[in-house]
């Protein structure tokens, strides 16, 4: 889902060059995946997200021999990031367990401007998402926002694919309920 053949070849070349010490290739990889890695870290603890995301890329570089070049990089990076985040959460309680920062217009995708959704309604959805249990919350984020497949999510979260599907279903049901309680018209929420 996150992988097309041309992109995969390009990605592999970049990874090979980066592991040989090509700083420009490494920077290209970081540019390509920094947002997804940063967002995952943000969901686990906002205060340290930047440090954790940076550590993710450095660990990936130091342990580059463990990377399977036949597979896409993003799921591997997110697996490292998630482990780092879980370790950090075990050691210290997250400073901000929920991502309840106010919505910043600068954060928004250009496409989002076209939507009829109000900022308040989106804020409610975001807050409802942050209150989900870890599994459903992460499954929804990785599937809907990072564009990963069931299989890729299962590998990142180290669970069977069926569990990912259950989490997605359960999480979506809870989100739908939260939106309905907030009187957000779910069935008419077409943004496109």
């Amino acid at each position: 889902m996150s992988d097309t053949s041309g992109n995969a070849v390009d990605e592999r070349r970049l990874a090979e060059r980066a592991t040989r010490g090509d700083a420009r290739a490494f920077a290209d990889l970081v540019t390509r995946y920094q947002n997804a890695v940063y967002r995952l870290c943000l969901r686990y603890g906002a205060e340290e997200a930047q440090d954790l995301a940076q550590e993710t890329f450095m660990r990936a570089f130091v342990h580059r021999e463990r990377f399977d070049p036949t597979r896409p990089i993003l799921p591997w990076l997110l697996t490292i990031a998630r482990r780092l985040c879980i370790d950090r959460v075990r050691k210290h309680k997250p400073v901000l367990a929920e991502d309840d920062r106010p919505l910043d217009p600068a954060d928004e995708h250009p496409d989002a401007e076209a939507t009829l959704a109000t900022r308040e309604q989106l804020g409610q959805l975001k807050q409802a998402h942050s209150k989900l249990a870890d599994g459903p919350r992460e499954a929804i984020a990785l599937y809907h926002w990072e564009g990963l497949s069931y299989d890729e999510i299962a590998k990142i979260m180290n669970v069977p694919m069926g569990t990912v599907m259950t989490w997605l279903h359960r999480g979506r049901a809870q989100l739908r309920k939260a939106l309905e309680e907030a009187q957000v018209p779910v069935a008419r929420g077409s943004a496109s």
Partner: protein, 168 residues
Amino acid sequence: MSHIDDQRLMELAVASTPDDAEAAHLAACALCAGALAAEQGLTAWLATVPQPAAPEDFLARVTSAYAVEMSHQTYRAPVLAFGGIAAMLLPLAVLALSAWTDIVAGVSSWAVAVRALGEVVLSLMRAVSSPSSPGLTLIAVQAALLIGGLSVLARLMWMTSPAQEAGR
């Protein structure tokens, strides 16, 4: 056809297209059509949730850390190689030193001490070197390397001490 289950409705809302039977059912069943519309609506809502981006200086931070890591790796390789060779040569150095002190310094107390030390280390290694005790062998080798290294250092310090220089 019975109602479409929730899991399938979610898949239809996200990526799949209904087969003929499902399409016919959705056209006839208001319950399933409403549930699918709700799922599609949620998918659309989720697509509009703004996603934060990494801070602007993030790339600079990571590439800077990468440069530091690269320089460490460049530095580490020759240091490790040198360290490995030095560690391998240390036991030989102890033996050579023992023999050399015998020849050059005669039977001075220092030469006797160094030679005795070397023999103790070798005896210890022989005593514990058996297939059933690889851990002890490792400890013995490490002890030999440590003692050998210290002997060499002590000898070097003694040779360069002011008293020794004055005596020459």
